[in-house]
Subunit: 334 residues, 2 copies
C-alpha cells in the first residue's frame, strides 16, 4: 500500500452507458494519461454514438461479457433507479468497477448485492462515487471524526436538480422547464460563523423554476400546482418564472451545481472550529465523472492488492486516487 | 477493513509532552468516549503539571519505555525542530504513534527514519498529522486527483503565526508581540471564481504585527527592522501596530488560525470546476490535537490489522478515523 508507481501500460477502462455522465467519463480519462478508454458499451445502436475521441470503439452492451480480458475496470454510467441495481451486481461478478449509485436509502441493500458478487468473482467494486454521495459523504465523515462535539450541515446549489426539473415538466400545461436549488445565504452564514442552528427545510434551501407554458395553459394554475407539489416543493419557498422556449434553450441548457458541507464544532468551551468543503461546478456530470475516474484508478489498484469485495469512498486511502507515487506525494503535497 | 465495530475497552493513549498541543489532545480525548488518556509523559517535574482531567496520571518521560503494556498508542506533542526527529523514530521501535512533524522539506528523511523503526518494531507510526501538514495536504492531493487539469492554491489565515511572532520578539527594542498572517481577499476571490492566476507571495498574504516596545525604544527603527526582515517579512506587505502590554495580553492571547485550499480546474473547454476546503479555527492547537486523536484511532486499527511501518494521512482510509462501524457510516453518511 505504500508504493504505487504507475506502470507503463495505461489502465483500460470500459464505459458502460453513454449519456451525459458517460461523455463526462470519456472527457475525464483524456485528462489522465495513465488511463485509456478501451471501449464504450451501449444499449443503443453502436453506430449512432459519436464519441468525443477519435477511434474510440463503441460496442453493443451484449458484447461486454466477452471482453473481460480487454478491460481492467468498468465505469458504470447508468441511472440509480433502474440500471445500477441490476448492472452493478451482475457485472461485479466478472469485472472490477465503479458506480455512482445515489439512492441514499437503498445503499445498504445495493452494497450487499454488489459485495456478494464481487467476493465471488474476486473483483473490487466501489459504489456511490461522485460528489453526493461521494466527496460530500467523505467530508461529512471527516467532520464528524475530527470534531465529534458538533453538527454537520449539507447545503446543495446553486444547481440544476434533474429530479425537480422532471417533476415540473410532468405538470399539465408545462411545455418545458428547469428547477434550481439554491442555498439560503443567511442559513449558510449562520452555520459558517460557528453557530449550530436548528434549521428547517424551508430555512436551508429555496427553489427557483423557469417554466415554458403550453399554448393556452393557465399560468396561475400551473404555478399553484408546482409550489404545492408534495415533497418536491411544498416545504420550500418556491419562485416560478414563466419564460419563452428560446430563453429556456439559450439560458438554461448548462448543468451547474455544487454546495457546501460544513461541520461546526467545539473543542473546548472557548474554542469553536468550523470546517467547510465547497464545490462550485459548471458541469455536474463532468465533475461526477472526474470523481468516478479517480476512484476507478484506486479500484484497479485495490483489486491488484487482493482487496476484493464492495467498497465505498470511506474505504479508499486517498493516495490510491493519485497517479503519483507515495514518495512523490509525500515530498510535494504533504 | 470493512468492519470496525468499537470494542468495549477504550483505546489507551499516552500523551508525550504537555504544552498547548498536549493539553489539546487531552481535551480532544475527553470528546471521544472510545479513547482514554492512560498517561501523560513529561520532561518537567511530573508533580508540577496540572492536567485538565481529574485523576490523570502524569509520569516522568523516563518511565515511558516501561509502560509498553499499558499503552495502545502514543500521541507525540513535541516540536518538529528538536523533539520529533529524535523521539518519533526512537519511540516507533516500541509503540504505535502519531506525530505532527511539520517541517515540510524534511518529511522524506523523517519518514525513512520512522519507517525503519516501525517495521523493526512491528508498530504503526503516522507522521505529519494536523491541518497543514494534514487536512490541507489531503485536500491538495484530492484536488489534484479529481481535477488533474488545474492549479492548487493554499492560503493561510487569518491566524497567529508562532514562527513570525517569535521573530519579531527577537528584534532589539521589542518587549512583546504577535504576528497575524492574513490572506489577501482579492487573491482568494480571483481563485475562487475559477481563474488560475499566477500570484506572487505578496499578492497572496499580508502580515500584521502588534508590538509592545521596551522603554526608550525607537518605534520607527523597530518597524523598519521588522518589515525588512529577510524571508519572514521582506516579501510581504507588513503593517506594524504599536500597542501597550495590557492590550497585548487582553486582545492577543488566543491562537486562532485557518485558511483555504482551493483547486481550480477544468474538465472541458466549457466547464470550470472549483473545490474549496476551508478551516476557521478559534484554537489552532486544539484543532491540531483533534486531528491527531482521530488518526491515533486509525493507527491503532492499522496496527491491529498488521499494517506496520510509517504512514501519512495519504495512506489512511477515511472510515478508519471514525468510531462508528462501516455499516453505520454507509447507512448514515454516504
Amino acid at each position: 500500500m505504500t508504493q504505487h508507481t504507475s506502470s507503463s501500460s495505461p489502465i483500460r477502462v470500459g464505459i458502460v452507458g453513454y449519456g451525459n455522465l458517460g461523455r463526462g467519463v470519456e472527457a475525464a480519462i483524456a485528462k489522465n494519461p495513465d488511463m485509456q478508454v478501451a471501449g464504450i458499451y451501449t444499449r443503443r445502436e453502436p453506430a449512432q454514438l459519436k464519441p468525443l475521441g477519435q477511434g474510440v470503439a463503441v460496442h453493443a452492451m451484449g458484447e461486454l461479457m466477452a471482453h473481460q480480458d480487454r478491460l481492467d475496470v468498468l465505469i458504470l454510467c447508468g441511472g440509480s433507479k433502474d440500471d445500477l441495481p441490476v448492472q452493478s451486481p451482475q457485472l461485479a461478478a466478472r469485472f472490477s468497477l465503479v458506480d455512482s449509485f445515489d439512492t441514499h436509502a437503498r445503499v445498504p441493500e445495493h452494497f450487499a448485492a454488489v459485495d456478494a458478487a464481487a467476493r465471488s468473482g474476486q473483483t473490487t467494486a466501489l459504489i456511490s462515487a461522485g460528489w453526493d454521495p461521494g466527496m460530500f459523504s467523505l467530508n461529512r465523515l471527516m467532520g464528524e471524526a475530527l470534531l465529534p462535539d458538533g453538527a454537520t450541515y449539507t447545503f446543495w446549489g446553486k444547481g440544476l436538480s434533474q429530479g425537480h426539473s422532471d417533476a415540473i415538466r410532468r405538470v399539465a400545461g408545462v411545455a418545458g422547464g428547469v428547477q434550481y436549488t439554491i442555498p439560503v445565504d443567511e442559513a449558510v452564514e449562520r452555520v459558517r460563523s460557528g453557530g449550530r442552528p436548528e434549521l428547517s427545510t424551508r430555512e436551508k434551501h429555496r427553489r427557483e423554476c423557469f417554466v415554458v407554458l403550453k399554448e393556452g395553459a393557465d399560468a396561475e394554475a400551473v404555478r399553484r400546482e408546482i409550489v404545492g407539489m408534495p415533497h418536491y416543493f411544498d416545504q420550500y419557498d418556491t419562485t416560478v418564472h414563466f419564460i419563452e422556449a428560446d430563453e429556456l434553450a439559450r439560458e438554461h441548457g448548462a448543468m451547474p451545481h455544487g454546495g457546501f458541507v460544513i461541520r461546526s464544532g467545539t473543542t473546548s468551551e472557548q474554542a469553536s472550529q468550523v470546517i467547510e468543503y465547497r464545490l462550485k461546478l459548471d458541469s455536474n456530470p463532468e465533475f461526477t465523472a472526474s470523481v468516478l475516474v479517480a476512484y476507478a484508478r484506486a479500484v484497479h489498484r485495490l483489486q491488484a492488492m487482493g482487496q476484493h469485495g464492495c467498497k465505498t469512498v470511506f474505504d479508499v486511502a486517498p493516495g490510491l486516487l493519485s497517479p503519483r507515487s507515495a514518495e512523490q506525494l509525500r515530498a510535494d503535497l504533504l
